[in-house]
């Protein structure tokens, strides 16, 4: 890449970056856009890598936008290039190959980087992380070439659970090791996690919670197992480390303090960073969280989309509607058992009221957390249909005191919503922005 300059420079090629570019084009049809991405791939969906590895989604379906995307939106795509240095006073980004790109407005949408804990032997062949398509490709080839029969997944969060599912679909026997006392600990409470764990065990997965991997045991330079704290050894030929992601802030930090970074890049409600003309969105950003109002890095897809879109509008000088912050939420199916958790659901805040409804067969567990008359959290396992009714109530901060007794009943629906809020839902305005 030689030297270049553009009106809009977007670092990243995933959901936040794409949402931003689409928003820019709604306002500014002609302004030049350059997208730079470390990965050489066309726009693809990261959450689909486990489905791809399992053979449920083919190469074509990995594309999250049509192949004509860059052309349609008049974007110059520089793929397979890493942005390594930012000079905010000169308005220039430098690439690993030495190329320099000047910008009028910059968006950093570099996402997250997997955390690799200091496990001894983590460099051994057969140890992988699992956040990019290339990771899934490497894992897939490794399974095929080495005829992998057993694997250990370190971490039973969302990404870990998805990796477990994919490996099982490939016929690999999996043990998942989790430090926390339960699976999906950030999203689920004890009862919900029990159901998720049972679904895994039923599928032939060994689940070891409250356990810590101390070392990867190598034989002939390859992974042969992991050793847990306390000495127990779990034999395996493949290890996937999935203990979480941290915002990829290296580029922001390279600006020498001009771009304020906490855990992620700090942004305001228009996704502006502390440096003029520099914006950040998605997993790399740390913006307002809806319920607490404080700035938190929340690595989820819908949040990345919304932030990207807002950043794009703001960069193009369009009006940005009131951003109400990102809401923590996730929907994870565990071997066919659906789980959804929204807001403050796993651990109810002090003084909150908790409503629960349970059924043994087929398993279902539903919980709503109410604080000061408003729903602040919802968790649904099994019976998840219409879960969004709760998400809407949480996001809108609607007072539900009058309909509290209906919330977990069979009939609960739009008709049960408080009148004003119901009018809004029925109107079809959706979310503003």
């Amino acid at each position: 890449m030689k030297n270049d300059s553009t009106k809009y420079l977007v670092i990243g090629n995933s959901v936040a970056a794409v949402a931003a570019v689409e928003a820019i084009r709604e306002t500014d049809a002609a302004g030049s856009i350059v997208m730079v991405s470390r990965e050489p791939k066309h726009v693809y969906s990261r959450p689909l890598i486990s489905y791809w590895l399992a053979g449920k989604v083919d190469d074509g379906r990995m594309d999250w936008r049509p192949r004509s995307f860059y052309e349609d939106l008049k974007v110059k795509a520089v793929l397979g290039a890493e942005a390594v240095k930012l000079d905010t006073s000169k308005h220039v980004v430098e690439l690993a190959d030495g190329g320099r790109i000047g910008y009028e407005k910059l968006l950093i949408a570099t996402g997250g980087t997997p955390i690799v804990p200091k496990i001894s032997g983590r460099e051994t062949a057969g140890v992988f992380t699992f956040t990019e398509w290339a990771d899934a490709e490497r894992v897939g080839s490794f399974i095929a070439e080495r005829k992998v029969a057993r694997a250990v997944v370190v971490g039973a969060g969302m990404i870990g659970v998805k990796a477990v599912e994919a490996l099982a679909a490939r016929g690999v026997r999996v043990t998942v090791v989790e430090l926390a006392p339960r699976v999906l600990a950030a999203a689920l409470d004890e009862r919900a996690a029990k159901l998720a764990e049972a679904a895994m065990v039923n599928a032939g997965v060994e689940v070891r919670c409250g356990a810590e991997v101390e070392a990867v045991v190598a034989r002939e330079g390859r992974a042969a197992g992991v050793r847990l704290k306390g000495g127990a050894e779990v034999p395996c030929e493949l290890v996937i480390v999935a203990v979480g992601v941290v915002p990829s802030v290296a580029l922001a930090r390279s600006a020498g303090g001009a771009v304020e970074v906490d855990r992620g890049i700090l942004v305001d409600d228009a996704m502006r960073t502390s440096a003029p003309d520099v914006y950040a969105a998605g997993d790399v950003a740390q913006g307002r969280e809806a319920l607490s109002g404080t700035k938190r890095a929340i690595p989820i897809w819908p949040g990345a989309f919304r932030q990207g879109r807002i950043a794009g509008l703001a960069m193009a000088g369009a009006k940005v509607a009131n951003y109400d912050g990102a809401l923590v939420m996730n929907s994870v199916s565990v071997f066919g058992l659906a789980t959804i958790s929204v807001g403050t659901a796993a651990v109810a805040p002090a003084g909150a009221e908790v409503l629960v409804s349970e059924r043994a067969e087929p398993p279902s567990y539903r919980k709503v957390v109410i604080q000061d008359g408003r729903v602040v959290g919802a968790m649904l396992v099994g019976d998840i249909d219409r879960a969004g009714l709760f998400t809407g109530l949480i996001r809108s901060g609607t007072d539900v005191s009058a309909v509290k007794d209906l919330l977990l009943t069979e009939q609960f629906g739009v008709l049960s919503l408080p009148a004003e809020y119901r009018k809004h839902v029925v109107s079809g305005a959706g979310i503003e922005v």
Partner: protein, 145 residues
């Protein structure tokens, strides 16, 4: 855009809309056959809700700013550029249920086979959706507001 609106004061709760929706989205397109044989495979896009004596027909609002579109990780959920309808391409859907989690109307449900999301498709561009066409008491209307 034109949307389907319920007039709860006219709704009898007869659920004919649900049945007509099922027939419209069935293979046979025949009411008896669809109801007898395909009922277990099809999730109607419209659902009749009740609270006390009040009943009301509810389906996807095809929101201007649709949360399900933002949440969809596959691109299965998309907006028809011609009609503005929000549609789910069942072939692309992997059943992650992000849409179920985010729809404020609770109008996206899991399909009966639990493989893909299911919702109102405004009868795929028909002039008038069948639920509206067949409501015996004009309790569902299709109009611009």
């Amino acid at each position: 855009m034109k949307r389907i609106y319920a007039r709860e004061e006219f709704c009898l709760g007869c659920r004919l809309c649900e049945i007509q929706c099922l027939v419209r989205h069935s293979k046979s397109k025949k009411i008896i056959k669809a109801f007898r044989q395909e009922r277990d495979q099809i999730t109607p896009g419209v659902m009749v809700e009740s609270a006390g004596h009040v009943t009301f027909a509810m389906q996807c609002r095809h929101c201007d700013s649709a949360p399900c579109l933002e949440a969809c990780i596959t691109g299965a959920m998309h907006r028809d550029p011609k009609t503005g309808a929000v549609l789910c391409d069942a072939d692309r859907c992997v059943g992650c249920w992000m849409c179920v989690m985010t729809c404020p109307a609770g109008a996206v449900r899991r399909g009966k086979d639990q493989k893909a999301a299911s919702k109102c498709d405004l009868c795929a561009g028909d002039k008038t959706p069948v639920c509206v066409l067949n409501c015996p008491n004009e309790a569902i209307v299709y109009e611009e507001r």
